[in-house]
């Protein structure tokens, strides 16, 4: 298999706040907690950070200078700064952009940061066509959009609810071992609990989706060469990446059960020189349980329409053959607003650094992380991206 795998870029540290519901602390303060953790963990001097890739946020997005304000708040003077508005795809998208900037000599050491106090603030208006062609209909936001997607999926392939229940329980069991998970969600869940959970927008149930919380997370990215100079205690490498925005954007009547992962997944795998069975663990973006099934199918873990069977046939627990969202995912640890895309990423890095405590995956040789962002008009989701991380 042809590959252009490189290991010239390294992730050398990570940080994460607990996920809290209406914590009342600003995105700036949450971000500060993450940066301090990373500096303490890596022992690196703050002055080494000369790049910032920061995710857009719900809580502060009314401020068009949010990224530069964050620099001011944290005392950073980067020679390269990037604000990523890819929703839940922003964190791994930030690593990919940081890698390009480092390779181009714009900076050496980048803090890839996401922070959002969404549950403590007011959700900003997205405008555009929404006031004319969406709001008057009353589709219930992402829940309604995933209702339409799930009903169509069921029509084309059938939808085995036992697979959704298994995903809900697997992730909840992981969240029970995650001290950073949202307290309100840290209680056991059974498959019966899922199957008797109320419908919100059919066939989407309360337990299919996330609870919006507050929180922040981040990773430190530099060149492998610089990581050695800095004396990095641990490092892992991004070896494959694929991304697509506004997938099927010009299609008039696309098949909405097919996502951008059908492009981004194979691209990332090709770059990494891997096939799906080579993936040791996966930390997929989970806004809704059915997104996990579609993600697995479109990346190529199984045939289209066979995702539920794949889930039922595979041990997805931290002890399993394909551990999935071992910190509970956003659905069971809580979604820290638009910082949600970094939650499963940080867990992947933590696992590969072998610092995941009682939920540690054995032989964490590599990890696939995915991102999803934005709900467009009448399709599934706007942004899909996939990153593969590997040990040195």
């Amino acid at each position: 298999m042809s590959t252009n795998k490189r290991k010239d870029i390294a992730i050398i540290g990570y940080g994460e706040t607990p996920v809290v519901l209406r914590g009342g602390r600003s995105s700036y303060e949450l971000a500060a907690q993450v940066m301090e953790q990373i500096l303490v963990q890596t022992g690196i001097d703050k002055r080494e950070i000369d790049g910032l890739a920061i995710s857009e946020t719900m809580s502060e997005t009314g401020n068009p200078f949010w990224g530069v304000y964050m620099c001011e708040m944290l005392g950073l003077s980067p020679s390269w700064m990037q604000l990523n508005g890819l929703g839940g795809a922003s964190s791994i998208g930030g690593i990919a952009r940081a890698a390009a900037a480092i390779r181009d000599g714009m900076c050496e050491t980048v803090l890839v940061l996401a922070s959002d106090a969404q549950s403590s603030g007011k959700t900003p208006e997205q405008g555009a066509q929404r006031h004319e062609f969406m709001y008057p209909v009353g589709l219930k936001g992402p829940v309604g959009a995933f209702g339409l997607l799930s009903e169509r999926y069921r029509h084309q392939y059938g939808l085995d609810e036992r697979a959704l229940a298994k995903l809900a329980v697997t992730q909840r069991n992981h969240a029970l071992m995650n001290p950073n998970g949202c307290e309100k969600l840290r209680k056991p869940l059974t498959e019966e609990d899922y199957l008797s959970s109320k419908y919100v927008s059919t066939p989407i149930r309360v337990l299919d989706s996330v609870m919006v919380c507050d929180g922040a997370n981040g990773v430190l990215v530099t060149s492998t060469e610089n990581a050695r100079r800095l004396g990095a205690r641990k490092m892992i490498h991004p070896i494959g990446y694929g991304e697509i925005s506004n997938f099927n954007g010009a299609a008039r009547q696309p098949d909405i059960t097919v996502s951008g992962f059908s492009l981004a997944g194979p691209k990332a795998l090709r770059q990494a020189g891997m096939r799906p069975p080579d993936v040791r663990m996966i930390m997929p973006y989970d806004d809704f349980l059915i997104a996990l099934i579609i993600t697995l199918e479109d990346i190529g873990f199984c045939e289209k329409g066979k995702g539920a069977q794949f889930v039922l046939d595979t041990d997805l627990s931290y002890r399993g053959t394909l551990p999935l969202n071992t910190s509970g995912g956003q659905i069971s640890a809580g979604q820290p607003g638009l910082a949600g895309g970094g939650l499963n990423l940080v867990e992947g890095v933590r696992q590969m650094f072998e610092e995941a405590g009682e939920r540690q995956v054995s032989d964490p040789r590599n990890c696939m992380v995915t991102g999803i962002g934005v709900i467009p008009y009448g399709r599934n989701w706007g942004v899909s991206n996939v990153m593969i991380l590997e040990q040195p």
Binding site: G127, A128, Q129, H131, E132, F133, M134, Y135, P136, V137, G138, L139, K140, G141, V143, G144, G147, L148, L149, E151, R152, H155, K198, Y199, V200, S201, T202, P203, I204, G249, A250, R252, Q253, I256, Y377, G378
Partner: protein, 138 residues
């Protein structure tokens, strides 16, 4: 199951582009969709440019109002402003012209909706000036 006289968010025309022709036609009971003049391709929702050619050579044409249900969801927990309508059906309808529209379905029970079922245009009058396109079984 008509939504007449129930308060709900009203469309705010002309916010992101000039949609005057669309809304003027709705008040006359005509559903307009955009066409790219150069490629002959329709598009919906209205855009400020052709999604095919990237040119602004666009025109409005009246749709037949005939379509089929592509997917649907029964909304049990309202989008803000729609609380008085619960439960209500939202759907994606494929118009025979080849575009897909997000809309409400009326005059059908949730358990009777089928993907692929034929539907036809139905106008909800929201105010004296504004009517909104919905669909009912054909």
């Amino acid at each position: 199951m008509s939504a007449a006289n129930i308060s709900r968010p009203l469309p705010r025309p002309n916010a992101y582009m000039d949609t005057t022709p669309f809304w003027r036609a709705t008040s006359e009971g005509r559903l307009l969709i955009q066409y790219c003049v150069d490629s002959g391709e329709p598009q919906f929702f209205p855009r400020p440019i052709s999604l095919v050619t990237g040119r602004r050579n666009l025109e409005w044409r009246e749709a037949s109002g005939k379509g089929t249900v592509y997917s649907f969801t029964n909304t049990l927990n309202a989008w803000p402003g729609h609380e008085a309508r619960v439960p209500y059906l939202c759907a994606l309808v494929d118009l025979e012209e080849g575009v897909r529209i997000l809309c409400n379905l009326y005059q059908v029970k949730p358990e009777d909706v089928r993907i692929g079922m034929a539907v036809k245009l139905y106008w909800e009058r929201l105010t004296d000036e504004l009517a909104y396109p919905a669909f009912v079984p054909a």
